[in-house]
């Protein structure tokens, strides 16, 4: 059966430390836009840790929620793209084909999660910072949309290795950069079509739910609600 890649994020474990954010930059050649552009709202973080305050001092709480592309099964971003740059792959990913993108930015508007980012300029890496670039991930040029890919390069690498070793992919073979970096193990990635996989198990948790469920976008990222001590 075809794979259906999904993720589960346990908000009871997420400490908001932001390691995943930096790991994502390191893995996916996400440019640093610098203070001037950041001030204009052009900072790119495929994965962001949303924080929301609740209540007022002294009864104040803070809530973290890492938000990356939810890889929706009914993704609003896909049909609006006139050139099929944004489309659904056989393994259920929202693919973004940079070469095919002409930059209408319609997908970004249609995305209720605001997880798509636009290259306002050609990215700059003052030498020798460019030596860090990950050759498995294409560098995006000015005028195209980019977004979280669930580290598709890692998915493909693992599939190839498995093929080379003439075996099936095992649960845990694939770890996107964010999942890999998380010290608190708040994130799990795997095949939702495999009922035994950790991600499937977590997705079935009574604490589980998806973001903006009512919009009917069928996200493949499950958030496990934070618990409170009783």
């Amino acid at each position: 059966m075809a794979h259906k890649w999904g993720m589960a994020v346990d908000l009871d474990l997420c400490t908001g430390c932001g390691a995943c954010v930096t790991a994502c930059h390191a893995e996916n050649n996400i440019p640093t836009v610098g203070p001037e552009q950041a001030a204009r709202g052009r900072a790119m973080h495929w994965l962001r840790v949303e924080r929301y305050w609740e209540g007022d001092f002294p009864d104040v709480r803070l809530k973290f929620r890492p938000v990356m592309c939810q890889q929706c099964d009914a993704a609003p971003c896909e049909p609006v793209c006139p050139t099929y740059a944004s489309h659904h792959t056989a393994e259920g990913l929202n693919a973004q084909v940079y070469n095919r993108c002409i930059g209408t930015r319609y997908c970004a508007n249609a995305c209720p999660y605001n997880v798509r980012f636009f290259d306002f300029f050609n990215p700059q890496w003052p030498k020798p910072l460019h030596l860090q670039l990950n050759p498995d991930v294409s560098v995006r040029e000015v005028g195209v949309m980019e977004k979280c890919t669930f580290c598709v390069q890692r998915i493909n690498a693992a599939s190839i290795d498995a093929k080379a070793e003439k075996r099936e992919l095992k649960d845990g073979d694939i770890k996107p950069a964010c999942v890999q970096s998380c010290s608190a193990r708040a994130m799990a990635f795997g095949d939702l079509n495999d009922p035994e996989s950790e991600v499937s198990r977590l997705s079935r948790s009574p604490r589980g739910g998806t973001l903006l469920e009512d919009l009917g976008t069928l996200p493949k990222v499950t958030y496990l609600e934070r618990q409170t001590q009783v």
């Binding site: 896909e78 049909p79 489309h87």
Partner: protein, 167 residues
């Protein structure tokens, strides 16, 4: 070419001329009328009214509809990518494209037919008189047989022509 014609200031006298020519035994296909504006009321303006334009327009629309239906379906199947959980051939959106191309078909068909039936465009005609656009109405006959010319002239004059011209 040669032609004999006269210019009239008002439709009534032009009509009289036309009647005269018909009395002289010319079929109205042989009688040439030109005016700077349409004169709905006069009988001479009523000729050649019948037209297939309406049906041709509908036919054009139909062609547009068939083409667009084929185009949308064909391309979606030629490039079968899933988007947003929609079917590969998604009729709702396709209907919009189909509607637009249907209308386009109708419009183009109309205009093309107009040009063909009105014999447009063509070179500036040999048989013409600029006075037509000054409100004069031209009535005449193209390539009359030399013998018939005097008879025609009489018929035209009977209409009360301002001036009689020959070339």
């Amino acid at each position: 070419m040669s032609a004999v014609y006269a210019l009239y200031a008002d439709p009534e006298s032009a009509q009289r001329a036309v009647n005269g020519l018909q009395a002289a035994g010319l079929s109205h296909a042989e009688i040439v009328v030109m005016s700077g504006e349409p004169f709905e009321e006069q009988p001479f303006a009523q000729q050649d009214k019948a037209t297939w334009l309406w049906y041709i327009a509908c036919a054009g629309g139909l062609i547009g509809m068939i083409f667009s239906t084929w185009l949308t379906r064909m391309t979606e199947l030629a490039w079968p990518l899933q988007t947003g959980n929609m079917p590969i051939v998604a009729w709702w959106p396709n209907l919009i494209v189909i509607f637009e191309l249907t209308m386009l078909g109708a419009i183009l068909a109309t205009v093309i037919t107009l040009f063909i039936t009105a014999k447009l465009p063509r070179r500036t005609p040999a048989f013409y008189d600029p006075e037509v656009t000054n409100g004069k109405i031209l009535v005449g006959v193209e390539n009359p047989s030399a013998a018939s010319v005097p008879a025609l002239e009489r018929a035209l004059m009977a209409g009360g022509a301002a001036e009689l011209k020959r070339r």
